[in-house]
C-alpha cells in the first residue's frame, strides 16, 4: 500500500451545545489534491482549523508521514510543514508583497535590531515566484494588488516555509473565472512539486477540474471518499445527496395555506459587481427563501434591502407604494427590518441588557415628553415580547452576552418585532444557534409570516428548502432559479447553488 502523507483518525471536536466533528477520518496521499466538501455546518472549517492549530481536537489522532503528531497551536502546524491559506488572506496591506511573504521570518539572526536585508528578501521572493507562470510586482504594497495576486502571495508565504501540506479554504470565492484558472495552474505546479493539497470549496464544478479525490463531510462525519474520475460531472446529483444526507426531519414547521396579498416587491435590483436582475415579491402568509453561498451576492442582497449598502439600480414597493430605502433608519421607518447574519457584529449590543437591545429599534414607542423613556411601559412591552418569543432566561435586565446563541438570536428577533415592521428579512437566521433552539426560531418565523412579509436569505440550502414557499437561488450574482418550492427538489436547489444551474456547464 502506498504511504500516506497525512492521516487524521477519529477526530472529535465539541463546542458548547454542538458536536462539530464526530469521529472524522481523513487521508491525504502525497502529491494529491483532495477536495473537502460539505454544506454549511458540516464541519469542514472546524477540521482544517484543527489541522492548522486554531482549535484543539477533543479526541482522535493525526499522523504525518506515519509519525503521530500533536498540533497545539499555529506554530506547531507550521513546524510540521502544514500551511493554510484562508478565504480572505490576512496581510499587512501597506507592506510590499515580499515583505508579506517573509513576515516574521525576515532574518535568521535573533535579536530585535538585526538588520533586514531587503534586497536579499526580494531576490528570494522573486526566485520563489519564478516557479510559477505568473508575473507579480512583489515590490508593490499589497493594497494595490488584485484578489488573485494576494492569493498567490499567500501561497508563496506558505511555500517560503518548507511546507508539504497546503490547505486552501475556499480560495476561489472572491476570484473571477479567469483568476481561478491562474490559481488552478499554480495548484497543478505545486502538485507536481510533491505538495499535498486539501482543497475546500462549495463549487462542485471546480472539483472535477482540479481535485484527484473528494471527501464529503455531513453533520460532523465523513460519509464518502471518491475518486473524481469515477464521479464525473454526471454524478453531481449523487454528491449533492451525499452532502445533504437523509435528515430532513420535522425541524421545520408546516407550511401555511394560500398566500394573501402582496406586501413587498423588488424590481430589477442590482448592485454593481455583486448581483443583478433580482426580482421577487413577498405575499402575506408565505415565506420567500433566497439561497446563495459565499460570493453569490446573497449577503449583500440582505444589506441592500435594508439600506445599509446603497443599491445601484432597481425599485422597491411596499404595500403598493413605491418607497426609497437609503439608510437603515429609513428602512425601519418604512417598515422593513433586517435580522442580520453576523449577530455579534451587527445584531446585538452584547454589553447591554436585553431590554436595551430590544427597545433600541423603536424608542419613540416608549418615550414621552422631551424624549424621556417611560421605563414602566418599556419593561412591560419588552417583557411581553421576550415571553412571546420565549427567550430564556426571561430576565430582561440580563446582559445579552450572557445568553446562549439561540437566545441571543431571539433577542435580535424581539428587537425586530419591537419595530412593528411589515417586512422581516432574516439573514442566516440560525448561524451559531444550537439545534434545540433552531426549531423554536423556525416556528417563530412561520407564525410571523401570517401577518408579515418574510424573506429568508441563507447559505444553508436545507434551511431555505425547509422553510420557504418560494425559492430563489443566487449563483455568482445571478438568479439561477426562481421556483415554487413544490416544484423543485432539495438536491436540485443545492446543485443550482454550487454549479449555477447545471445546463451551462455540461
Amino acid at each position: 500500500m502506498e504511504a500516506l502523507k497525512l492521516k487524521m483518525q477519529g477526530i472529535v471536536k465539541e463546542f458548547p451545545g454542538v458536536k462539530a466533528l464526530d469521529g472524522v477520518d481523513f487521508e491525504l496521499k502525497p502529491g494529491e489534491v483532495h477536495a473537502l466538501l460539505g454544506i454549511n455546518g458540516a464541519g469542514k472549517s472546524t477540521l482544517i482549523k484543527i489541522l492548522s492549530g486554531v482549535y484543539q481536537k477533543d479526541a482522535g489522532s493525526i499522523y504525518l508521514d506515519d509519525n503521530r503528531i500533536e498540533i497545539k497551536n499555529a506554530q506547531d502546524a507550521i513546524k510540521h510543514g502544514i500551511a493554510t491559506v484562508y478565504q480572505d488572506p490576512q496581510m499587512i496591506s501597506t507592506f510590499t508583497g515580499y515583505e508579506n511573504i517573509y513576515l516574521g521570518s525576515e532574518s535568521d539572526q535573533k535579536g530585535i535590531f538585526s538588520r533586514i536585508n531587503r534586497k536579499k528578501l526580494r531576490e528570494k521572493a522573486e526566485k520563489l515566484l519564478e516557479r510559477f507562470p505568473v508575473d507579480i510586482d512583489l515590490s508593490r504594497p499589497v493594497i494595490e494588488l488584485s484578489a488573485i495576486e494576494k492569493e498567490i502571495i499567500a501561497v508563496l508565504r506558505a511555500l517560503s516555509k518548507d511546507m508539504s501540506v497546503l490547505v486552501l479554504d475556499e480560495p476561489t470565492s472572491i476570484l473571477t473565472e479567469k483568476e481561478t484558472e491562474v490559481l488552478f495552474s499554480l495548484i497543478r505546479l505545486l502538485k507536481d512539486g510533491g505538495v499535498s493539497i486539501i482543497y475546500i470549496t462549495h463549487r462542485l464544478k471546480e472539483i472535477y477540474q482540479i481535485a484527484d479525490r473528494l471527501t464529503v463531510l455531513q453533520d460532523g462525519k465523513n460519509v464518502a471518499t471518491l475518486d473524481t474520475n469515477e464521479g464525473d460531472s454526471g454524478n453531481h446529483m449523487a454528491i449533492a445527496e451525499l452532502m445533504l444526507g437523509k435528515k430532513l426531519d420535522k425541524v421545520y414547521p408546516e407550511r401555511g395555506g394560500n398566500p394573501g396579498q402582496e406586501i413587498f416587491s423588488v424590481k430589477d435590483l442590482a448592485l454593481n459587481g455583486t448581483f443583478r436582475d433580482v426580482n421577487f415579491s413577498v405575499r402575506r402568509g408565505e415565506i420567500v427563501g433566497i439561497f446563495g453561498l459565499v460570493g453569490s451576492g446573497a449577503e449583500e442582497l440582505s444589506k441592500v434591502l435594508f439600506g445599509v449598502i446603497p443599491k445601484t439600480s432597481g425599485a422597491f414597493r411596499l404595500n403598493e407604494r413605491e418607497i426609497k430605502i437609503r439608510s437603515s433608519s429609513e428602512a425601519i421607518e418604512q417598515g422593513i427590518f433586517l435580522i442580520p447574519g453576523d449577530r455579534r457584529q451587527e445584531g446585538q449590543i452584547s454589553d447591554e441588557p436585553v431590554f436595551f437591545n430590544v427597545s433600541l429599534s423603536n424608542l419613540k414607542k416608549i418615550s414621552g415628553l422631551l424624549g424621556l423613556i417611560r421605563r414602566g411601559s418599556e419593561n412591560l412591552s419588552v417583557q411581553k415580547l421576550v415571553d412571546q418569543v420565549k427567550v430564556v432566561p426571561q430576565d430582561i435586565r440580563q446582559n445579552v452576552s450572557s445568553l446562549s446563541g439561540g437566545n441571543q438570536q431571539k433577542v435580535v428577533i424581539s428587537k425586530g418585532l419591537f419595530s412593528d415592521a411589515a417586512v422581516y428579512i432574516f439573514a442566516e437566521p440560525t448561524v451559531g444557534v444550537d439545534v434545540g433552539s433552531k426549531t423554536g426560531i423556525y416556528n417563530l418565523i412561520r407564525d410571523l409570516s401570517n401577518e408579515k412579509g418574510i424573506i429568508i436569505i441563507s447559505s444553508d440550502c436545507e434551511e431555505v428548502y425547509g422553510m420557504c414557499d418560494r425559492a430563489i437561488v443566487l449563483y455568482k450574482g445571478e438568479v439561477a432559479m426562481h421556483k415554487n418550492i413544490h416544484q423543485c427538489r432539495l438536491e436540485e436547489m443545492l446543485l443550482c447553488g454550487v454549479t449555477g444551474g447545471g445546463k451551462s456547464d455540461r
Binding site: 451545545g17 472546524t46 445599509v308 437603515s328 433608519s329 446585538q348 441588557p353 433600541l360 451559531g432
Partner: protein
C-alpha cells in the same frame, strides 16, 4: 448570576456608596491634617473650583460614551474665553443698560463665546463623524488651530479692559439663594445631562453607538449626528467653564483653560473605574474626588506641579482599574454562544 446582569438601581447605588466612602476617607484624612479643611468657607471654595472641572468633564463624558476621544476642548475653551473677553471690552463702546448688576452686553458676549466654542466642536464632530477622520489626531489639530486663533484677539496679551466695570465677574460671584452661581449651574447641567444620557431615548442611542456602532446602525440609529452633537456639547461646556474661569480671574487670558485637559480625563476615568462605563453620576463623583484631593493639597501648601502629578497618577490608576472586570476573574469559562470559541461555519 446577578453579576452578569445589566445595570440596575442597586448597582448604581453600590457604585455611589463606593465613591462616598472613598471621598469620606480622604476628607477625614485631610481634616485631621489641616484644620482649615472642614470649614464652610473652604468647602464653598472647593465646590466652586469643582464646578469648573466638573463642567468640562461632563462635556467629555458625552464623547467618551461614544468611544471617541477629544483632545481639542481645552484649547477651544481658550478661544471661547478670549472671544468673550474681547466682546466684553467692546461693551465700553456700546450703549448698554444694566440688568441687575451686569451690563446688558455681557450676556451676548458670554453666549457668543459659548457659540464659537460649539462651532469648533462642530468642526471636530463633522471631521470625526461624517468624514471618519481619526479622532485623536484631528482634535489635536483642531485644538491647536483654535488656540492659535485665540492669540489674534490681543496678540496674546491679557485683556483687562472693562472687567471690573461690566459686571462679568458676577457670573462667578453671584449667589442664588446663598449658593454660588457656578455651583447652581453645575448641578443644573448635571441634572439635565443625567436625564438625557440615562433617562432619554437620546441617551440610549449614545450608549448604543458607543458600545457597537454597527449594531446601532442596524437598529436604525443615525450615528453620525450623535457623534457630531457629542463633540459640540464637549466644546460648548468647556467654553462655558473657561468663560467662568475668566470671570473669576477678572482678566482675559489666552491660557484660561490650558490646564483643563488632564483633570477632565481624570474625572471621567475615575468615574468609569467604579461604574464600569462612562456615566453622568460617575463623572460627577470623579470630579468631586479630584477636586477634594486638589483642594486638600493646596491647603497643605503643596506646590501645584505636585498636585497635578497626583491627579495624573490617579488618572492612570483609574484607567487600570476600569480595565479590570472583577466579576470575570473567578470564571474564565467562555459563555456558551457568546465567546469566540463557537463554531461559525461559513
Amino acid at each position: 448570576m446577578t453579576d452578569k446582569k445589566g445595570p440596575s438601581i442597586s448597582d448604581t447605588l453600590k457604585s455611589i456608596a463606593i465613591f462616598v466612602m472613598m471621598i469620606a476617607v480622604i476628607i477625614i484624612i485631610f481634616s485631621l491634617v489641616e484644620d482649615k479643611f472642614l470649614t464652610a468657607r473652604n468647602l464653598k471654595m472647593l465646590l466652586r473650583h469643582m464646578s469648573i472641572s466638573a463642567l468640562t468633564a461632563l462635556g467629555l463624558t458625552y464623547v467618551i460614551i461614544l468611544g471617541h476621544y477629544d483632545m481639542s476642548f481645552y484649547m477651544v475653551g481658550c478661544f471661547a474665553a478670549m472671544t468673550t473677553s474681547y466682546l466684553n471690552k467692546m461693551d465700553i463702546m456700546m450703549d448698554s443698560f444694566m440688568i441687575g448688576s451686569i451690563h446688558s452686553f455681557v450676556i451676548p458676549a458670554v453666549l457668543a463665546g459659548i457659540a464659537v466654542g460649539c462651532a469648533w466642536g462642530l468642526i471636530s464632530g463633522i471631521a470625526v463623524g461624517f468624514l471618519k477622520m481619526n479622532d485623536m489626531v484631528t482634535t489635536i489639530g483642531v485644538g491647536f488651530i483654535a488656540f492659535g486663533t485665540a492669540y489674534l484677539y490681543s496678540k496674546g496679551s491679557f485683556i483687562y479692559d472693562n472687567f471690573l466695570t461690566s459686571g462679568i465677574t458676577e457670573i462667578n460671584n453671584a449667589d442664588w439663594f446663598y449658593v454660588p452661581f457656578p455651583i447652581v449651574l453645575m448641578l443644573g447641567l448635571y441634572l439635565i445631562s443625567y436625564l438625557i444620557l440615562s433617562r432619554s431615548k437620546f441617551g440610549r442611542n449614545f450608549y448604543a453607538t458607543g458600545s457597537n456602532r454597527i449594531a446601532a446602525i442596524f437598529s436604525g440609529v443615525r450615528v453620525v449626528p450623535y457623534i457630531i452633537v457629542a463633540f459640540v456639547i464637549c466644546s460648548g461646556l468647556t467654553s462655558l467653564a473657561a468663560i467662568m474661569t475668566t470671570s473669576a480671574q477678572g482678566v482675559g487670558n489666552v491660557k484660561a483653560s490650558i490646564n483643563f485637559l488632564m483633570p477632565a480625563y481624570a474625572a471621567v476615568y475615575i468615574g468609569i473605574s467604579v461604574f464600569k462605563k462612562a456615566t453622568v453620576i460617575g463623572t460627577f463623583f470623579g470630579a468631586l474626588f479630584t477636586s477634594v484631593m486638589l483642594n486638600g493639597f493646596t491647603l497643605m501648601a503643596m506646590p501645584f506641579y505636585l498636585s497635578d502629578l497626583i491627579i495624573a497618577v490617579s488618572l492612570i490608576i483609574a484607567i487600570i482599574l476600569s480595565k479590570i472586570d472583577w466579576t470575570s476573574i473567578q470564571k474564565k469559562n467562555p459563555i456558551p454562544g457568546s465567546g469566540s470559541e463557537i463554531a461559525y461555519e461559513k
